[in-house]
Amino acid sequence: MTDATQTRHVPDRLNSRAARIFKSWEALLLAVAIAIFVINSFASPYFLSAWNLSDATFNFTEKAMIAFAMALLIISGEIDLSVASIIALASTAMGLALQYGAGTPELVIIGLTVGVLCGAFNGFFVTVLGLPSIVVTIGTMSLFRGISFIILGDDAFRGYPSSFSWFGQGYIYWVFTVEMLLFVIIAIIYGVLLHKTNFGRAVYAIGNNPTGALFSGIRVQRVKFILFLLTGLMSGIAAVCLTSRLGSTRPSIATGMELEVVTMVVLGGVNILGGSGTIPGVVIAAFVMGLVTFGLGLLNVPGIVMSIFIGLLLIGVIALPRLWAMAAARRKS
């Protein structure tokens, strides 16, 4: 059409790869994580011990498993506040199955299935009925846990087989726990899924502009439904781990975990409004949160004071770079 001399050459990239990485959120967060690690090891003589650090990973592994799926969901512009309640329901279902003599493999299958079903339930309301996910999952948050209460009442399920305790209490090698292994595997799977596949690209596209994504031939509702299923599945896996770790089920299990999961995702640099975020960011955020709670725990700081730190961290990590940029802009002008 236009002659070649008129055609402009548009370069592929504006910034070099190194510059992009250096300026990234992950770099900042990693610096924070390292700082916390160093501070912790000075603040408490007990911090730098393999076994203690291993114990500390329990503070975040289960939450992080859900956080990876939640990250994708939030990037796509949705959210699931019912994850902790899914854990309760999945755990209750496992306990119920136990009463009917289920063995470890059956328990795991039931836990995961209930997780997926709960995810499907949320997904149905959001993608088929077109309701906002924050609202739907505030409802299912009560509903799922409510069903646990109906089934269990003031009772508890206990007496899980000893082989079942492997998931939440087992060690693979030396101080490395089964949960850590699961955490690493799931992190890699989600990292690849989000950053290296067509599905991940669709997630970003949907998060940035759902209408545009639909008009580009992406099956928006299907992708979102799958994301709800995945979040349910991860909650099911977390339910297996947590139930195995606690060795019993009560309907109040995992109360309040949803907000910690969301906090972890947001701290990891995922835009709560959708469209951007990375899995490495969430991984580092998981460590940051684990390190902060464990470090403060070693100093016997009360839990509620600890949560002040998490709150400040959440706001501070986002606010500081912006304040910095504002100050820099002011200095320039």
């Binding site: 059409m1 236009t2 008129q6 055609t7 402009r8 050459h9 548009v10 370069p11 592929d12 990239r13 504006l14 690849v192 290296k196 596949t197 067509n198 599905f199 991940g200 690209r201 970003y204 596209a205 998060g207 940035n208 502009n209 209408t211 545009g212 994504a213 639909l214 008009f215 580009s216 031939g217 992406i218 099956r219 469209g275 951007s276």
Partner: protein, 513 residues
């Protein structure tokens, strides 16, 4: 052209507003580079330039939405700066922006008066007074709806009338119109012209931005030309010809003749039988052949877009079948349509077209990921290759392919959307108002490109409300009215009169049907 009074002001009168050495940069883009612009009282200044030349950016600077990085703005010779849109409003500058910037949840009157509503003694909004004034404004511009209507119940064209009423609701000295006629029908455009004349006679300075040369030459007194963010020249409209203006704007001469298509029309590719939607359209039957450009004409709101979106799988028809290459295909989603080789370039670029937030190359490869990836895993190098190829074919203007598509001008965003679909190598491409808001240079390029596509054997459906474009480009035209097909016209039967007659439902004796 109507009889236009000669500009009453002598050339040595001083400008009411003058912008000088104005620079505005965005990350990676210099949108304006030391431009100047003068607006004179009682005169219409037309600002022309290609897409992305910086016209809307200038408007936003004049209305306090953006702050320039350098340069001065003077009003009556006194330097002034606008920190907020309110400052500009206080200085007497009002604008009809390119995008309709209104509120669906508010009533028409509230849309007009939000921010400067009349108050009662207690400081509360005086709704009675507000509706009274709004009704008067609406009557002045001939708007056919009440001030109590909820804005969301209005169509695009009527919304635009509200935007115009809003601009007139403040007692401004400077009125800016950024492509005000893009969404209006013929009759409404005439009313707008009258309005402009009235404003002129009140001594207001008017900045008029348009890509339509006939209207520029009809209503403007002066012109100013920008190219790639730089000032090229200005002067009195009487001193310049259309061709000269185009050359100034594009930097070369542009053939404004529609490309004479030498494409061959082949066998039937698409056949639509009895398409029907419960509320939007009914009884749509037509065929489309290989290498054909099929025009869809109609008045704005005739339901062409609704039908095209059903054909593309966005909505589902309640009845009807669609055959592609003779086989019945069920299209339930855009993904189905794409896999059957039908693609759609939507009218609403910002919302339905480009995915703002994703880089250019990812926008281009989004529907072609199947081709650039291996078993579901991305291959970046392949993606860049594809994106490079198609951005070059469309002469995309951008800083880099990994730049956010949101930073491109409207016209360049449109190119990204077209590139995205061409990369899928479709059989049928539906272009919904493909040149709406596109500058004359790019417009010619799009037209040329369209016939090139047809020559390559692609079938094109072109929805357009511009009669010259419809007549110049189409091999065959379908006219829609009120959700139904009003006529199907062969190329030889096309004339502006026939098209308008069928579109408006006027019988040969001139009475409405």
């Amino acid at each position: 052209m109507s009889t236009r009074p000669a500009p009453p002001i002598s050339p040595d009168v001083s400008p009411m507003v003058s912008m000088d050495m104005i620079t505005k940069t965005f990350p990676g883009v210099k949108a304006l580079d030391e431009v100047k612009l003068d607006l004179y009282p009682g005169q219409v200044t037309a600002l022309v330039g290609e897409n992305g030349a910086g016209k809307s950016t200038t408007v936003k600077i004049l209305t306090g939405i953006y702050q320039p990085n350098g340069g001065t703005i003077r009003i009556d010779g006194d330097p002034i700066s606008f920190a907020t849109p309110n400052d500009a409003a206080k200085a007497g500058i009002t604008a009809i922006h390119q995008e309709t910037v209104l509120f669906d949840e508010l009533s028409v009157a509230e849309n007009i008066y939000i921010g400067h509503a009349p108050r009662t003694r207690f400081g509360l909004i005086d709704t009675v007074q507000m509706h009274r004034s709004a009704a008067k404004l609406l009557a002045d511009i001939g708007a056919p709806f009440s001030s109590h209507t909820q804005l969301r119940d209005l169509g695009i064209a009527n919304k635009h009338l509200v935007a115009i009423a809003r601009a007139l609701s403040v007692d401004a000295r400077v009125v800016i119109m950024d492509e005000p006629t893009a969404a209006l029908s013929h009759k409404e455009i005439e009313e707008l012209y009258e309005l402009v004349e009235a404003l002129k006679s009140q001594g207001k300075a008017i900045l008029f931005i348009s890509h339509k040369f006939d209207e520029i030459f009809r209503i403007a007194d002066r012109y100013a030309v920008f190219r790639d963010g730089a000032f090229v020249g200005d002067g009195r409209i009487d001193d310049i010809s259309e061709g000269e203006l185009v050359t100034m704007m594009v930097g070369r001469s542009v053939d404004q003749i529609f490309p004479q298509s030498d494409h061959e029309i082949g066998e039937e590719v698409l056949k639509v039988v009895g398409y029907e939607h419960p509320t939007e359209f009914a009884d749509i039957n037509f065929t489309l052949n290989r290498g054909e450009i099929l025009g869809f004409y109609g008045l704005v709101g005739a339901g062409r877009s609704e039908f095209m979106q059903a054909l593309f799988g966005i909505t589902r028809p309640s009845k009807g079948v669609c055959r592609v290459n003779g086989d019945i295909k069920v299209i339930r989603s855009p993904a189905d349509a794409v896999s059957n080789g039908i693609v759609y370039v939507p009218e609403d670029r910002g919302k339905q077209g480009a995915i703002i937030g994703l880089p250019i190359f990812q926008n281009i490869t989004l529907p072609s990921l199947g081709k650039t990836s291996r078993s579901g895993f991305l291959k970046l190098a392949e993606e860049f290759k594809l994106a490079r190829e198609y951005s070059q074919r469309l002469d995309l203007r951008a800083a880099a392919l990994d730049q956010d598509v949101g930073n491109l001008s409207g016209g360049n965003q449109q190119k990204v959307v077209i590139a995205k679909w061409l990369a899928t190598q479709p059989q049928v491409i539906i272009l919904d108002e493909p040149t709406k808001g596109i500058d004359i240079g790019s417009k010619a390029a799009v037209h040329e490109f369209m016939s090139e596509l047809a020559a390559q054997g692609l079938s094109v459906i072109m929805v357009s409300s511009e009669i010259p474009e419809i007549i110049g480009m189409s091999d065959r035209v379908i006219v829609m009215r009120d959700g139904r097909i009003a006529a199907e016209l062969a190329k030889d039967d096309l004339s502006p009169e026939t098209l308008v007659r069928h579109a408006a439902g006027i019988t040969t004796d001139g009475a409405a049907a």
